[in-house]
């Protein structure tokens, strides 16, 4: 059974690119257009990997990532963050939320600043899937 990768991004062009990289590697891709939809898709599809944008309507990737990592059912799914938001800001935001909410969460498996090129994204996808 081929592995399944969930692509969460509000930009249809980015979703198309990410999905084509996933399919090129022989995996199945499923897509969501915002954080809320992404959350539903995770529960529904139980993907082997998530490629997650940060700045999206309804729920950001920051909050979705946090929700996943604090839920025992999904905490082990590897996540690649693919965003225009810098890794530094992502980390600082998680630190601020940890200070407020108390629960510490691990760093994502990979962080790529947009735009991603085919080779970099493909290498990170393979790496995360095989590590799992």
């Amino acid at each position: 059974m081929p592995k399944k990768v969930l692509v969460v991004d509000d930009d249809p062009d980015v979703r198309l690119f990410n999905s084509s990289v996933v399919q090129e590697l022989g995996f199945i891709s499923v897509e969501a257009g915002n954080g809320e939809e992404g959350r539903q898709m995770v529960a529904q599809e139980i993907p082997d990997l998530i490629i997650l944008d940060v700045m999206m309507p309804l729920q950001s990737g920051i909050r979705l990532y946090r929700a996943l990592k604090t839920d025992a059912a999904f905490a082990n799914i590897p996540v690649i963050i693919l965003s225009g938001i810098s890794q530094r800001s992502f980390n600082k935001s998680q630190e601020a939320l940890t200070a407020f909410e108390g629960s510490d969460i691990p760093a994502p498996e990979a962080y790529i600043e947009k735009p991603a090129d085919f080779e970099t994204l493909a290498a990170q996808i393979k790496n995360c899937i095989h590590r799992k």
């Binding site: 509000d10 940060v54 700045m55 999206m56 309507p57 309804l58 729920q59 950001s60 920051i62 909050r63 225009g84 938001i85 810098s86 800001s89 992502f90 600082k92 935001s93 601020a96 939320l97 200070a99 407020f100």
Partner: protein
């Protein structure tokens, strides 16, 4: 009490900068946790042209430029532990503000000064009138202070509440009451129409003054009971001009009005007081629709 958890910030960058956004972050004291950015690429900028067709590359370019601005702003907010969302879309401002408001279920809409021309307004009404008609969410029309202004403007610090004793004005009053952590001092004004007063005897004018001052005093008492310093003012004349004058005299940070939201043909052509203030005044104005807000 959480009354503003989510705020829609519709910016065209020229009229609303990060400074404006920053000045609104004191709303965190009343629950603000989520800012949704909206940028609308006006349809005519990318519309079909003979020989060119739909300008897809122009759309992509404009969206990317907007994205660069929003990434900068979002990083600042994310780092403070806030939640941020973004909509960058093609369409008309009013249509897209309403769409994002409904989709995101925001508690406050922040927009810059409307820029539609007179002819356009006569044909299709003003953006403000259209927004008031189509949403029940309070609208803050933010007028950016000059960049050289030394003191940062905090819109909710010294509001001027204009009341005409309508249910909508009472709603605006309740709305401000819920912002008590932010409001330091409030000025409350009622403007009597001089035409109506002209036909009264001297005694009746005095009675009019006494009645309205007592009503204003009662509102002040409500605010003072909540620990907000309050002053009342009774002015006479054209409501738009007098409210604007009072706002300057009492150094208001924002003018607050209630609005029924029942836009009429008369209003479309002549205009309502909240709409005039939103469009013409150099001061920010908050319009609380009757039935909207907390």
């Amino acid at each position: 009490m959480t009354i503003i958890k989510k705020m829609l910030f519709a910016s065209r960058f020229q009229e609303l900068t990060f400074d404006a956004l920053e000045s609104l972050l004191d709303l965190r004291a009343v629950g603000l946790d989520h800012v949704v950015f909206l940028y609308v690429v006006e349809r005519d900028k990318v519309a079909m042209h003979r020989g060119i067709g739909y300008q897809k590359s122009e759309e992509v370019k404009l969206k990317e430029v907007a994205n660069i601005h929003f990434i900068e702003w979002a990083e600042q907010l994310f780092e403070q532990g806030m939640e941020v969302g973004v909509h960058i879309v093609v369409g008309t401002l009013v249509q897209q503000v309403v769409r994002a408001t409904d989709m995101e279920k925001v508690d406050l809409i922040v927009i810059g000064r409307p820029t539609r021309g007179l002819l356009e307004q006569l044909v299709s009404g003003s953006d403000i009138s259209a927004l008031i008609r189509r949403t029940r969410v309070p609208i803050l029309v933010y007028k950016q202070q000059p960049l050289e202004a030394v003191e940062k403007a905090y819109p909710f610090k010294r509001p001027l509440l204009a009341t005409d004793w309508s249910p909508a004005a009472a709603k605006a009053q309740d709305y401000l009451m819920n912002l008590k952590g932010l409001v330091e001092e409030i000025n409350i004004i009622h403007v009597g129409k001089d035409k109506a007063l002209n036909s009264l005897s001297a005694m009746d004018v005095q009675r009019y003054r006494k009645t309205h001052r007592e009503k204003l005093r009662a509102i002040c008492d409500r605010f003072e009971k909540e620990g907000i310093k309050a002053r009342s003012h009774l002015y006479v004349g054209d409501p738009y001009q007098e409210i604007e004058r009072a706002a300057r005299e009492w150094r208001a940070s924002v003018i607050v009005t209630g609005c029924s939201g029942k836009g009429t043909w008369r209003e479309r052509i002549i205009g309502s007081v909240p709409r005039f203030l939103a469009e013409k005044s150099d001061l920010s104005s908050l319009i609380v629709p009757h039935g909207g807000g907390a």
